[in-house]
């Protein structure tokens, strides 16, 4: 199921309007299974809006957002599912979901799309370990018999909690946070909080991990460590990653695929090297018209 070249997320004709403002306009792209895709663009290009649409925090004005896990043959059922008006189709060998039809918590719970936030959203008064246990809420809830068996102290819950603790411990080990497990999340240094947020997202067993500027505010060393971790997540756990990033060292070093947005419109889509040399992308980042790029580059000495 790992990198077989099949698609995990398909975004088609996504449009998001807020009143008269078109934040995202007719955006289409795909994320391949077990790959790292980057969504880049100047400030205000609509990157986070795309994330909010994918994770169900916004209802898109138009468009289809399809996510599939398991057997890629399920993609054949896409049109059928769209016409049926249902949210998704779950079979023993996989599942297909239409994310635009699901509320945010179901996108995380059923479609298994995990996300982090641009401005870190941890539970600051709870310990690092508790943060990771909250992320495993749904499985533990089931094991505690929706609380009823748990209150009565049934052993099924105790074993489920032990498993959840083991999982949390293994991710803390991976992210170098095991020493801080019993500290409140709010006192961790900034870089550790960023890592913890990714670790917490990983505890939900995601199919697709959406990271909103994971390297923002990290120093070059921390940023390089994060790159390593993201590659481990992709290669060892075969989890697809979609990330928004401004740090070009992260984007160019680890992404397999880059999508560039400008004013809500896709202006480039391809391998990192191709995108880097695209004149439209350079123009968008420099904030000038296409034909003036050469002149401006000469001025700034590129």
């Amino acid at each position: 199921m790992a990198r077989d070249g099949s698609t995990v997320l398909r975004v088609e004709h996504l449009t998001m309007r807020f009143g008269g403002i078109v934040a995202v306009n007719d955006l289409s792209f795909e994320v391949k299974r077990g790959s790292i895709a980057a969504l880049i663009g100047p400030n205000g290009a609509g990157k986070t809006t795309v994330f909010n649409c994918i994770t169900g925090f916004y209802k898109p004005t138009e468009g289809r957002l399809a996510l599939q896990r398991g057997d890629p043959a399920l993609w054949n059922a896409l049109e059928d599912l769209t016409d049926s008006g249902q949210r998704g189709r779950v079979r023993p060998d996989g599942a297909l979901f239409l994310l635009e039809r699901m509320p945010d918590y179901l996108v995380a719970q059923q479609a298994r799309v995990a996300r982090t936030f641009q401005n870190i959203r941890l539970f600051p008064g709870m310990t690092v370990l508790e943060n990771l246990l909250v992320a495993q809420h749904n499985r533990l809830m089931l094991a505690s018999g929706y609380t009823f068996l748990g209150v009565l102290g049934f052993p099924s819950y105790a074993s489920a909690e032990r498993a959840a603790l083991d999982k949390a411990r293994s991710w803390l080990d991976r992210f170098g946070l095991i020493e801080r497990a019993d500290d409140p999340a709010g006192i961790l240094p900034y870089g550790a909080q960023r890592r913890l947020e990714v670790a917490r997202a990983m505890c939900t067993d995601p199919v697709l991990l959406c990271l909103d500027e994971p390297a923002a505010g990290l120093n070059p060393r921390e940023s390089a460590e994060l790159n390593e971790l993201l590659l481990v997540i992709r290669d060892e756990y075969a989890i697809s990653i979609l990330l928004i990033e401004h740090d070009m060292s992260v984007v160019m070093n680890i992404s397999d695929h880059v999508v560039v947005l400008d004013y809500g419109v896709k202006i480039a889509d391809g391998a990192p090297d191709a995108v880097r040399n695209d004149s439209k992308v350079i123009a968008a980042y420099l904030g000038v018209a296409d034909e003036d790029v050469a002149k401006v580059e000469a001025e700034v000495g590129l």
Binding site: F123, G125, M126, S144
Partner: protein, 456 residues
């Protein structure tokens, strides 16, 4: 050294200026309220008297209080604010914690025995009923509201509504259908939690102040229904002669089938009081046990996570709607238990018992105790409710202030003062720490400075 001396001098000037300003405001406010007194003289004429001494002494007290605050208290508070955010519990404190709770539980269990032995059966009734039972009802209500406010961070100003639902459920069902207390107790809890969910649905989208206003209105709606639906509730007059709870079928009366006769004792009203004390003690301990248990279950962690960051909860697949509703339902259920106990104990209920001041009292117990802290809430309930009751006992004050002096009339004034002082001393309540629900190596106590209060 020089710089320090200079700071000190500036402090004094600033404190004096602040005190003068406060004195001026106090003068402006108190001049019409205290300074002038209108009355009627012997020939039925309106006369105006002035009370300058009283006015100026009050202004002086206010200014002096402000001076002491900004000169001494504020620097001390600033120093305190710099303490570390986490701390390993010190050995001595851990020792106290380990023994304090079993000791406290042991004490409340033997409390009626101690009182009966020391005060005799006649004098004991007051101490068990007015102090023991009354405080335990509020401890239980505080623990129940703590789930909603302290854990889930949902500010509920209408909590007394669920208490009323529990009380009226018991009263009406017991009088109409003659059902037993032990059957109606869980039923009242279920009905209350049903009303909790009913309140929960419309307020799910509201946050913070808006939530507080709607819950306040809900509490008033319930009270107004109780007043105006006379056919069902008998309005202001209330419901009288509600059946009293029995000792598993044996009534507490002087007949041959009564408790005293069956157990070969001499009849005394104290038997019922002691029985009620143990019932409410068991109910309160049940509330505490369930809450402590829930905190370690996924639902409890989800409540606390909801208080910390609702959006992050949703991104982790937590159904925040259900989580909020369960918090409302749980809190309401315990209020329902307490309400049905209240109705059974008093044998009379009327809407007078379920006014907003009750909600405010319960909420201030939770806030003073420290939101989310079981022990803090219990201590706050003892102080607030026990404090009210003890003021009735301060008869010696009459010898100082004259026979017309009634200390209970100063209750609210003293509460206000105590609350201001405690909020200065401990802005986040008596127990301003949070104990993690789970740990890998050691349980570190988290300062409440890091914990969010929740905003809806």
């Amino acid at each position: 050294m020089q710089a320090g001396a200079q700071d000190k001098r500036i402090d004094v000037v600033g404190a004096l200026r602040g005190a003068g300003f406060t004195g001026l405001i106090a003068f402006g406010l108190l001049l019409p309220l205290i300074g002038f007194l209108t009355g009627v003289n012997g020939s039925n004429q309106l006369v105006l008297t002035t009370r300058w001494t009283l006015l100026f002494s009050l202004v002086a007290i206010t200014a002096a209080g402000r001076f002491i605050y900004s000169f001494a208290l504020a620097p001390w508070l600033a120093r305190r604010a710099q303490r570390p955010a986490i701390s390993a519990p010190s050995a001595r404190l851990a020792h106290v914690r380990k023994w304090a709770i079993p000791f406290a539980i042991g004490f409340v269990i033997v409390y009626p025995v101690i009182v009966v032995v020391t005060a005799g059966p006649g004098g004991a009734q007051k101490w068990i009923d007015n102090f023991g039972i009354q405080i335990l009802i509020y401890v239980m209500l505080g623990w129940g509201l703590n789930i909603v406010v302290g854990l889930a961070g949902l500010l509920d100003l209408g909590y007394v509504a669920f208490y009323a639902v529990g009380a009226y459920s018991y009263a009406l069902l017991a009088k109409t259908f003659g059902l037993a207390f032990w059957l109606l107790l869980p039923l009242a809890g279920i009905l209350s939690s049903f009303w909790g969910i009913l309140l929960g649905f419309p307020v799910l989208r509201l946050r913070g102040d808006y939530l507080a206003i709607v819950t306040l209105a809900f509490g008033e709606i319930i009270r107004l229904i109780l007043i105006n639906w006379v056919a069902l509730t008998n309005g202001y007059a209330g419901i009288i002669s509600i059946p009293r709870p029995t000792f598993f079928g044996i009534p507490f009366n002087a007949t041959d089938h009564g408790f005293a006769a069956v157990f070969g004792l001499e009849f005394s009203p104290i038997h019922r009081v002691i029985f009620l004390y143990y019932v409410i003690l068991a109910l309160a301990l049940l509330t505490c046990f369930v809450t402590v248990r829930l905190r370690r279950l996924p639902i409890g962690r989800a409540w606390e996570a909801l208080r910390e960051d609702e959006i992050a909860c949703r991104s982790l697949g937590i159904n925040t709607t259900n989580t909020k509703l369960t918090a409302f339902a749980m809190g309401a259920m315990f209020a329902g238990f307490a309400g049905s106990f209240f109705a059974a104990r008093e044998a009379f209920i009327s809407p007078e018992s379920f006014t907003f001041i009750e909600s405010a009292t319960i909420l201030s117990i939770v806030v003073l105790g420290g939101m989310g802290s079981q022990i803090g809430v219990a201590i706050a309930a003892i102080v607030m409710i026990g404090g009210t009751e003890i003021m009735r006992e301060l008869d010696f004050l009459k010898q100082i202030f004259g026979p017309t002096f009634d200390p209970t009339q100063y209750r609210m004034l003293l509460f206000g003062l105590a609350m201001v002082l405690i909020m200065i001393w401990r802005p986040r309540g008596l127990i301003a720490t949070r104990a993690p629900s789970v740990f890998l190596n050691e349980r570190k106590i988290i300062s409440v400075d890091l914990v969010k209060e929740g905003h809806g």
